[in-house]
Symmetry: C2
Subunit: 242 residues, 2 copies
DNA sequence: CACTAAAATTGGTATAGACAACTATATACG
DNA sequence: CGTATATAGTTGTCTATACCAATTTTAGTG
């Protein structure tokens, strides 16, 4: 069942096995899984190890527990929470659409005061990207991105062509994305915005301003987007704070 | 230091003590706190107990850890993440504004198909509330709320007057709020919307549709809000999924 | 049959110790 | 002086056990 020699920790292997059993219907939604003590016997590990696996899954909403009653499989619809920071490409794919970009500008520049402030920069240069974002060949958003050069010195236009920038960071660099803060407001399109989005002047648009942070806490991008609102809804899943 | 007789678990008392020491500057932002072994000696508990306290604080972004290096105090600005599901009242207070309501409609009714679907109802009645939401005596939003009667049978208009509905649920009932899903889109105000918000027809507005869920997974409210966008920005903090 | 008390089961907290994986520092060697 | 190498310190994983608190189940009693 489990591989004691594997470099993967036991609790992780247990998590994977429980997930598999949930997906294959061995444990059903809303029903209880075996108790900690039972699982520790079947997996031949200590109860605390089983516990670590279960508590991780509770944090990920795959399970929930009730003292004195047991541990239960959470409802299916919460299995893959749609919360989370995503790039445009990831967002569109999740919605079943095919994203692509039209790169209008890619250059290095000295950031303006707002950008310096938001990205906590002093004199460092930033990449400036301006792109039109398409989903299924329809224009969806105009996006401007500012990225500190010193964080990704090897970045160039080619690298941003095929793959999502977020994916690039997480697979090709040592950095990892942790969180983002967004402000969202409504507005009406002016002519220069309406034209590339194929909408009319005065039509409703969403303005989204995002600051992305690495796991070190360092801000790595400022992203200002204008979405046409006839084709795009912002979806957000939030948890209640305790 | 710690009270072994207290009904509060040791790990919780340790968390509180560490938070206090961070706030009072005994441990500074970015610097390491004592190691698990040191803490387990000073608090006179086992290392695993210290560990439970620390891991909780890591989840809450108060601390972060690096294997082989130590445990560090996270940057100040992430101490109180603004993420989380909030009611209008809570949201406004957090922004330093004073909220109040004008209750236009409060009645029981048979829900329409959309509401029945979103709240997973069959034939149950719902409360229907229509309110104008004010912040510092300026109209901010028009809000319609649908709440299943059977979840809160004792609800009436008085109970929603002074206190936030979310606060009411968490303090006066056995239910607890867990999460919410929101969709946000931009639009332009029609006459009936513009009038109570003191804006002009055609001005930009944010339409927010929210479904709130209890910790049991049961949806407890459908909330449809129209915010004027000249005075309101939606703020959202999100974490990257792993 | 209905109610109550006891027992069993479950998750929650806590202990004491062991080894592994990783990091930084001091030390010895070329 | 620079470079390996040991070593001490850190977090990460895991064991085996114990008792507590909440809930459910069972047995007993009237």
């Amino acid at each position: 069942m489990l591989n004691k020699e594997s470099p993967l920790p036991m609790y992780y292997q247990i998590e994977e096995d429980l997930k598999r059993k949930i997906e294959s219907g061995i444990y059903n939604y809303g029903e209880a899984i075996p108790s900690e003590r039972e699982l520790s016997e079947t997996y031949e590990v200590s109860r605390m190890t089983v516990r670590q696996a279960i508590l991780n899954m509770v944090r990920n909403r795959i399970l929930y527990r009730e003292k004195g009653r047991g541990t239960f499989v959470a409802e299916e619809k919460f299995e893959q929470p749609l919360q989370g920071v995503t790039s445009f490409s990831e967002d569109m794919k999740r919605r079943g659409l095919t994203p692509h970009n039209e790169l209008l500008i890619f250059e290095r520049q000295d950031p303006d005061e707002t950008t310096k402030d938001l990205l906590q920069l002093k004199e460092e240069e930033v990449y400036y990207l301006k792109r039109i974002r398409y989903a299924d060949d329809e224009p969806m958003a105009i996006e401007e991105t500012f990225i500190p050069v010193h964080l990704f010195p090897e970045l160039d236009a080619d690298r941003l062509e095929g793959v999502s920038f977020y994916e690039y960071i997480e697979t090709k660099t040592a950095h990892s994305i942790e969180r983002a803060r967004q402000t969202i407001e409504a507005g009406t399109a002016v002519f220069e915005e309406a034209r590339p989005l194929s909408i009319e002047e005065g039509d409703a648009i969403l303005r989204i301003e995002r600051i992305g942070y690495l796991s070190t806490g360092v801000p790595f991008e400022r992203n200002t987007s204008i979405y046409r609102s006839d084709r795009y809804k912002f979806i957000s899943d939030m948890q209640r704070e305790k």
